[in-house]
């Protein structure tokens, strides 16, 4: 499971970084989204990987922390998702405004002279 998760984070982050470095604003926003998924998965994995463990204390089970998942990274991830979602939405608006004002979708507002 560790291998799959780290591969997933790596692939998402790699694709995200590549896309951020591209010249089109749409590619940049896709890159930012992929990167935010990678970061969120990474935060989640910092609470250690558990199978079948809930982050809420169950009266029927013992009070041993090993039986439960760490709730803090889950709370952090939730906050990070919300903030990331809001900023991505804002970026989308700016992207559209830039497209409308500049007349093209290059990140510099004008096509590079090749």
């Amino acid at each position: 499971m560790e291998l799959i998760l780290s591969l997933a984070i790596g692939v998402l982050a790699g694709s995200g970084i590549w896309l951020i470095l591209r010249p089109r604003t749409f590619q940049v926003i896709m890159g930012l989204s992929l990167l935010s998924y990678a970061v969120n998965l990474f935060i989640f994995s910092m609470g250690r990987l558990n199978i079948g463990a809930a982050p809420i204390i169950d009266a029927g089970k013992a009070a041993d922390p090993a039986l439960y998942a760490d709730p803090v990274p889950q709370a952090l991830v939730l906050t990070a998702i919300v903030i990331g979602f809001a900023t991505t939405a804002l970026f989308l608006v700016v992207l559209l405004a830039a497209r409308g004002l500049a007349g093209n979708d290059h990140v510099d507002g004008r096509e590079a002279n090749l």
Binding site: I20, L35, I43, L76, A80, I83, A86, F91, A98, L101
Partner: protein, 543 residues
């Protein structure tokens, strides 16, 4: 009966939050009410900040341990709940933010707040984010407040719209989003290794790490440092700054002058807490010193090379960041106090400068800056240019040009660091402290590098700002005498007078800042105040 003074540390966040929320409920047409709420909010913030300043310096009695105001949200005990901490450094920064906030807000009411929607709520949320970043004692909340201030700054950056602003805003947003991701990665790693996000607890836990855990922690701290250095505009992470600050409208650029200092504050705060256990690379020592030097050099080259005045001030911001990073990268605590003095001075001066430049630009007929360069290049006669005096509201102030000229000279002196204003005091005390640090024998190479770099940056500032002044005031024949309203001239005068005050009371202020530096150098009291228990030995062995 509620004891209101116990809630003091959280007020700098609550006040702008409530004010901004109330303003959102009002229509944009209820402008006077909005302005009233805004002014009341910043004045209240100033009062709270000054009160905190008095409490943390021990002048006023307080229930808190060691004069460090600690506020537990929901009264959860410290390492588990969220905590707000106001110590001397935080109180100073809060006061600085409130002073700059008042000046820029008054300036904005003259006309800029009508250039787009929701200026006032966004401004309040920006202040809230900045205050929160200064107050928080928790790493994750630092991220949250960074996001609050950035989200508001994105909106303010685009205020007034226009192609240049939107394009510059696009770059600004992408850079800061990537920086936020770095911050998140670092925080997750820190939590994964130490199991805590509370900064005071972190300082304790970090000392107990050994072996691979310690290496992982240092990696996390390095990523954290990179994120803060992006905010602090350190080279090579600062290419976004001149464009973004230069394109933003004047009051927004002025309040942005404190935003790079938030990054520096975060570096200083975490660096001071982690120092006893050996601060990781980005938080002090050689790395910060050399990065600061590179930033300073970049700022100097930019200052000399740039033609537009707004971008010139952007490079001044970068070189002030560079000076601060270099000074804070010096070993020992003697340089920190003067560096804080320099920080206060440069925030006030650069804020005033951004406000001033926008007024000065009005004296120039439309397109004059483009013409001036091409006229020089092609040796042409001045073509008749139509008079495009800006449509400014307000009373015409007599001797407006004289005021602008005097204010320009004052701001230049402050930024360059020439006598008689506080810029000189700041740079002079910085240099003398740097020479004192290695007083035992001859000053070290680092000291000479610092002294040399600061003097060269002063020289570059003189050249660049003199040239800008000549171009703005003397070389334009068809200068239009601008109409200034009082609410535009007063904030600039207020900020300059604050700097005059700093120069007059330089002795007590420096003594206070040196005490702050000493308190930073001894983070035990901070840790004890937050954790409400004597901190275990930091170098300690097994838990």
């Amino acid at each position: 009966m509620i004891d209101w003074s116990a809630h003091l540390p959280v007020l700098p966040i609550i006040i702008p939050l409530l004010a901004g929320a109330c303003q959102l409920l009002l229509k944009d047409s209820r402008r006077r009410v909005r302005i009233g709420i805004s002014l009341a909010s910043v004045l209240a913030q100033l009062l709270v900040a000054v009160k905190l300043l008095l409490i943390t310096s021990g002048i006023q009695a307080s229930p808190w341990f060691g004069h460090i105001a600690v506020y537990l949200l929901g009264d959860w005990p410290a390492p588990f709940g969220i905590v707000m901490v106001a110590d001397r450094l935080a109180a100073i920064m809060l006061t600085l933010n409130a002073v700059l906030g008042i000046a820029t807000l008054v300036y904005a009411t003259a006309r800029w707040d009508r250039a787009g929607v929701h200026f006032h709520p966004l401004f309040q949320f920006l202040l809230m984010g900045i205050n929160g970043a200064f107050l928080t004692g928790d790493l994750f909340n630092l991220f949250v407040f960074f996001e609050v201030l950035l989200a508001a700054s994105y909106g303010l950056m685009l205020h007034g719209s226009g192609e240049a602003r939107v394009t510059a805003g696009l770059h600004y947003i992408v850079t800061n989003l990537v920086a936020s991701f770095l911050l998140l990665i670092a925080m997750a790693l820190v939590y994964g290794v130490t199991g805590t996000l509370n900064m005071a607890d972190l300082a304790v836990q970090a000392g107990r790490l050994a072996g691979p855990d310690r290496i992982l922690f240092e990696t996390a701290a390095a990523i954290l440092g990179i994120a803060f250095l992006i905010k602090a505009a350190a080279w090579p992470l600062n290419f976004w700054l001149p464009n973004a600050y230069g394109s933003a409208c004047a009051p927004v650029a002025a309040i942005f002058a404190i935003m790079t200092k938030v990054g520096i504050y975060a570096l200083l705060r975490l660096g001071s807490l982690l120092l006893p256990t050996g601060a990781p690379a980005a938080f002090g020592g050689e790395w910060m010193f050399s990065l600061g030097l590179a930033t300073l050099m970049f700022g100097i080259i930019g200052m000399l090379a740039t033609q537009q005045t707004e971008r010139l001030i952007g490079y001044c911001v970068i070189s002030s960041s560079g000076t601060l990073l270099t000074a804070l990268g010096m070993p020992g605590v003697t340089v920190t106090g003067p560096a804080l003095f320099y920080l206060i001075n440069s925030v006030l001066a650069l804020g005033a400068f951004y406000l001033l430049i926008e007024m000065v630009e009005r004296t120039r007929s439309f397109g004059a800056d483009v013409l001036a360069i091409s006229l020089e290049a092609f040796d042409l006669d001045d073509p008749e240019s139509p008079d495009h005096s800006d449509d400014v509201v307000g009373v015409a102030l007599p001797a407006a040009m004289a005021f602008l000229g005097m204010a320009f000279i004052a701001c230049s002196l402050l930024v360059i660091g020439l006598p008689p204003l506080s810029g000189f005091v700041a740079k002079f005390s910085l240099l003398s402290a740097a020479l004192q640090t290695s007083s035992a024998d001859s000053p070290s190479l680092d000291t000479w590098l610092l002294v040399g770099a600061i003097l060269v940056s002063g020289l570059a500032g003189i050249i660049a700002l003199t040239r800008a002044g000549i171009r703005l005031f003397w070389s334009t024949e068809d200068a239009v005498t601008p109409r200034l309203s009082l609410s535009e001239a007063a904030p600039v005068a207020f900020l300059v007078l604050c700097c005059v005050g700093l120069a007059v009371w330089a002795g007590p202020v420096l003594a206070y800042l040196n005490d702050t530096a000493l308190a930073l150098d001894n983070p035990q009291s901070y840790i004890q105040a937050v954790l409400r228990q004597p901190a275990p030995l930091l170098q300690g062995g097994a838990p």
